[in-house]
Subunit: 217 residues, 8 copies
């Protein structure tokens, strides 16, 4: 495992991460982590790799964008003094340009997105976070003719560049779903190509665990 055992790992993101988690900060074994990949990761670790002994926190908030994260980074990330932070953000920065094309309030440009993420990474590293894990934002859509997929791909490229520049761990969710869509239709993993079902969330968990180099069995 690329993370130290006996450490604290905090997940943050939008509705994909939130998924009904407890407030104000979620942790523990009775559904508090919500229905997302975060709870799946915790239960896989505790079932297969109890030796890792990671304390897992979830502060995802439905509907959030990169700008939203910035506003709550101090309270929802740094205040919990995590050793590791996992970040999955970007679909709301892009998607609403397509389903609500006339509403300007949620459009985050690629430049702003990239700059914001970089500031969050730097803020984390200077405040004692040892490592940041970056998910690429994803749209469970194999067609490169789809404009959401295409534009989000650019945001994903920015994530990859930031990961490389700041030595973050990369969890390439878009690549994982692209691969999965070769096997089955996207509706196997999500009804709206944005919010994964249990299988989709398990693919995210697998992507994360492989990124931090955890073997199951």
């Amino acid at each position: 495992m690329r993370l130290q055992k006996n450490s604290t790992l905090l997940f943050i993101g939008d509705s994909v991460t939130d998924a009904g988690r407890a407030r104000p900060v979620a942790e523990g074994h009775f559904g508090q982590l919500g229905g997302s990949y975060v709870g799946i990761i915790q239960s896989l670790l505790d079932a297969y790799r109890p030796d890792c002994n990671l304390r897992i926190l979830n502060t995802g908030v439905s509907g959030d964008t990169s700008q939203g994260l910035k506003g709550r980074w101090q309270e929802d990330v740094l205040a919990h003094k995590p050793n590791y932070v996992s970040l999955l953000i970007g679909i709301n920065d892009v998607w609403h340009q397509y389903d609500s094309p006339r509403s300007p309030q949620n459009r985050i440009s690629l430049e702003t997105y990239k700059a914001t993420l970089e500031s969050l990474i730097l803020s984390s590293l200077v405040n004692g976070v040892e490592q940041v894990i970056l998910f690429t934002p994803f749209y469970i859509e194999p067609s490169l003719q789809d404009p959401v997929r295409v534009q989000l791909g650019q945001y994903g490229e920015a994530v990859k560049q930031l990961a490389a520049k700041h030595h973050c761990i990369l969890a390439d969710a878009q690549a994982a779903f692209d691969e999965a869509c070769k096997q089955y239709h996207s509706s196997m993993y999500s009804s709206d190509r944005v919010h994964p079902n249990q299988t989709g969330h398990t693919i995210l968990a697998k992507t994360f665990l492989e990124a931090i180099d955890v073997k199951l069995g």
Copy 2:
């Protein structure tokens, strides 16, 4: 208008037609018709063309397939003695092969689909229905790389062939959504590419009204 005034028009189909309609048969002005294109058609006619004076019934049932229609055709269509029958069916015959690829129960082959529809058309015509309006089934997906879109397109072709053969009125919903997707992303019309929102249902209503040659204003 290609339908006679002062006549009865019955809509049947799956969840796209049902949309919370009243049971056992829906008609009237207080939400009984449900939230679909059927209620929009009635209110557009009554607002723009009260001279048409059509009695509109809705017997759509969520989750239905072409096979399901067959089992309830007598009770849900013929028993109401409509002058006209509008039929929108097929997405459940195809879609679940992709989102539930291992469940055999809802797979209706193209041959069965076409034969079933033909028997429903013939059964209608010999039982006093003057005209059948056939919607093409649709998937609000512009990419012809998408297998649901491709396969459903074949079912739509069967609908067109049957319309031509039996002189039915054709309401080409798939074509209408293909056109709409040139304007905006499919998420403007539906979150899952199957169930339209209010704008998507209005596109269905427009498609129907144009098919029966009703001018608004």
Copy 3:
């Protein structure tokens, strides 16, 4: 169309406009606009006239009067910087004098009503609104012996005079319902002659679209 394409159009009013809209300001395609004529206008435009590309906002509030509008004009209209404002108000200024004849709090006199509307129009125009669309308030009652209908007719006259004086667009809803009541009984359009059903709201949408000179098809 008498409005410029690619502009913002805000609707304000009472329960007829509100109809369950999202808070604090409603816009978008998933039911946020509520069940009123506002959502019907948006979906008709997007289905028939996507070229218009209007951003539509709704800030109607159930139970409101002309006085109520005044108090929230800055926050609920001007703050959103619309290009166009549509205003439908007045039934609560009049009606409650008849159903609650001893309660003085909601009686807005004709003079106050007219003066208030004029101030709202002027406030809009000097703050960058390009055009105001004024609905006449309506009571879906054909009999001119009905005192609500008669008194509300005077408020409607005031609206017409203000429209003429300030070159507003007039959407004469009362005239539309008077015409509709020649076709069918008022209970076809509303159960209480105040709150339209889906057909009644479609008549309002038609009245508005004709007023701004939008052709469907």
Copy 4:
């Protein structure tokens, strides 16, 4: 009082009589009689005239018509062996021709209405009911230009003729509301001119008590 003391009085009718009564047959002091004039009559009698000592039953059913009554007369009236039966029916025979003009199922012609009522009266009298009290059906609308009011007036005339012919007690509800509408607008008594509010129901109770010649105080 024109009824014998210590006897049983059964009320039957549609939603105006039903008003949330208990099932299968309503009687007693804890809301079982529902929110209609029936409970008001019982409580006025018990408060002002406990000497009358009438057992009061309610078998009204929402949405019922004269035809509906016929089908349940044995079970809902005769089986309870009342000394007196009060009957208020007719609005659903007429109204739905106006709010749902294309739905044929609830239209009861004047002839059928009158013949049905006569059969119910005769069936009662030969089965031991000592006296029938007939309400005129009502529409709380003063204008004689309103077609519902006009047509329902004809049904009321039929009630009056049957009352005279069979020596029934007449409770002229339409006349009472016509009088009340000279005092206040119809919306004081009902929001839809069909379902009375508490004041409207008290007017019905007063009409009934005067018809059976009960003085309060």
Copy 5:
């Protein structure tokens, strides 16, 4: 009628008066007045004596005592500038000494009760209230061996003395229920001898109407 026509009459009290009324102050015809004698009085007046034309307000609050009234007299009585105030209070001052004998917080002594009521009466009269109507508090229990009945009787005596001293109108509810209990068991009027059912509330309405000398019919 001992009250002037076209005036405002405000009712205040505890749960017997409250009975689910609208907040902050209740008035009008659609259930806002709640299920108590207040709504019955309004509907009897409007049905039998529309000439009286009284505006009726209700500010009863469940659980209140004489001390509670004092704290909200300015806001809930005087601020509404009523011509007449009706006051029914006292059961909670006494009852809870018996059902919760060890809880000191709700015990209002006879002296405090009487002094408080006198201050409320005087405060009303010097602030423009023309007349106060005082209900005796009641326990629907005929036995003078019952200690609640006995003690509450002393509070009722205090009410009578205050009515005589300050020329208030007396509505002797206890006497009315004592009389009613000669006719039927107390459970005909209330299940717990404190909260009247519809018949019990109608007895309160009758007591009030007789006290202000209103004839019905």
Copy 6:
């Protein structure tokens, strides 16, 4: 203890015994026995006298009368083959003559009550029940001027006579509440003098345990 250890004890009665018990027959430790004295007896025995080891069943049904018991004795008592049966019935046989004096359906005369109870006792004894425990029905009302208390006292006398004649164990609930009412007002034990609160139910449990001669501690 007058009952054999390691045996089955079934409680039957009306709403006082039912109190929300599980269906069809209640037993066990997770609230299935409902909120009545039955659950209190079980928990007192298990806490203070686990050596008794009684299996306790509850088949009380709200609203039941002695006649109602008769109809379900086979299914709800004998079919469970209890060693002991506890019976608490009678308030509904009497009470409703006072709160619903004109409704004949629930009036069970003293003779019928006594005969029915005797038949239930005999039916039990010949079908293997070793002992029947009879509660006197109770009204938590100390005044012998109260007619419900007086009449129910006669039913209680019948219970005592039957207990003596058939050597049943007598649990004199009325005497227990008479005694309790010397200490506190009846409203300490019940709000309507019929349905006990937790303290009232504990008095019933105490009465039962003393009747079967169980010492706590």
Copy 7:
């Protein structure tokens, strides 16, 4: 009884004491005390020993720890000026180290626990509380191999030492459940070994009553 009659006894603790009690402070006979041993104690005293005449208050709060108590001692204990205080706390100080082993926030060390309890006892005694009753915290688990049982036993030892040092009354709940578990499996008393069912709460009530030397019968 070791407590003075006619005095006030306040219970405080965590979810075992809370059990749905009324807010802000619970007392009285209609379920306000919640479903715990507190209500059972009150009803047993009132049924068996009304001469004790104790006023009982409950301020338990679900999830609380010894640290939590400290923060609300002034408001939830001292402000009510009780003569006696009963304290049951500790399971949350220990348990969550086992079910949420990585969450540091609820771990209260034995030293802190003991010091906190001592400060609460002293604070009570110097503020007029005559006597403190201390429950040992309990885990309904007979096995001394279970680490929660073992560690909580140490906290219980601390309670016993404090009781001895400050002459508090000791209610040894753990000993009572250890004894009960010799009779039946722990699942007879609780499903999770922490929250008692009705029988488990009755064992707590018995433990308390014996500790204060109250005989039942």
Copy 8:
């Protein structure tokens, strides 16, 4: 993998398997499989091993015992023609002897349990099931002093013997939880030692996947 690809695998059991699954038979990707290990197995397979392509069905029923399975084996297992059947049953056969020690209805003896399971296995094999996977029933309790654990261990032994005799695949859940309890306290995996939380269910999934020799990654 010890199962053939492209085959059907049916899970049956009690509440541990049920966990809110859809009725009548559960399958698919949108929560229909419920919250148990069954859904986790499906999502792990689809995420890690889509090549396996197993159709998974769930017919678990809460509260079931070995006897209950027998009654529904035809309808809930054989009728679905699975290639493989997974069986997890036994806790309700044993547990209720401890939490409801006096209720005889759910006690299934070891002999009956073993004989029933053998008949189910044989019935499966002769009806075309290729392989049965047997879970040992489990109690998440490490102490061998606990009688439920001890007795259930005997039932688990019977399962192992049957697995050996009939060449079934064994999924030793009890052994897995015994191992897990060496790592953490049982409350990490379940609050009542019977119903696993998400981590507990993941341990079951891991046990199953290892039993059928599926590697993740």
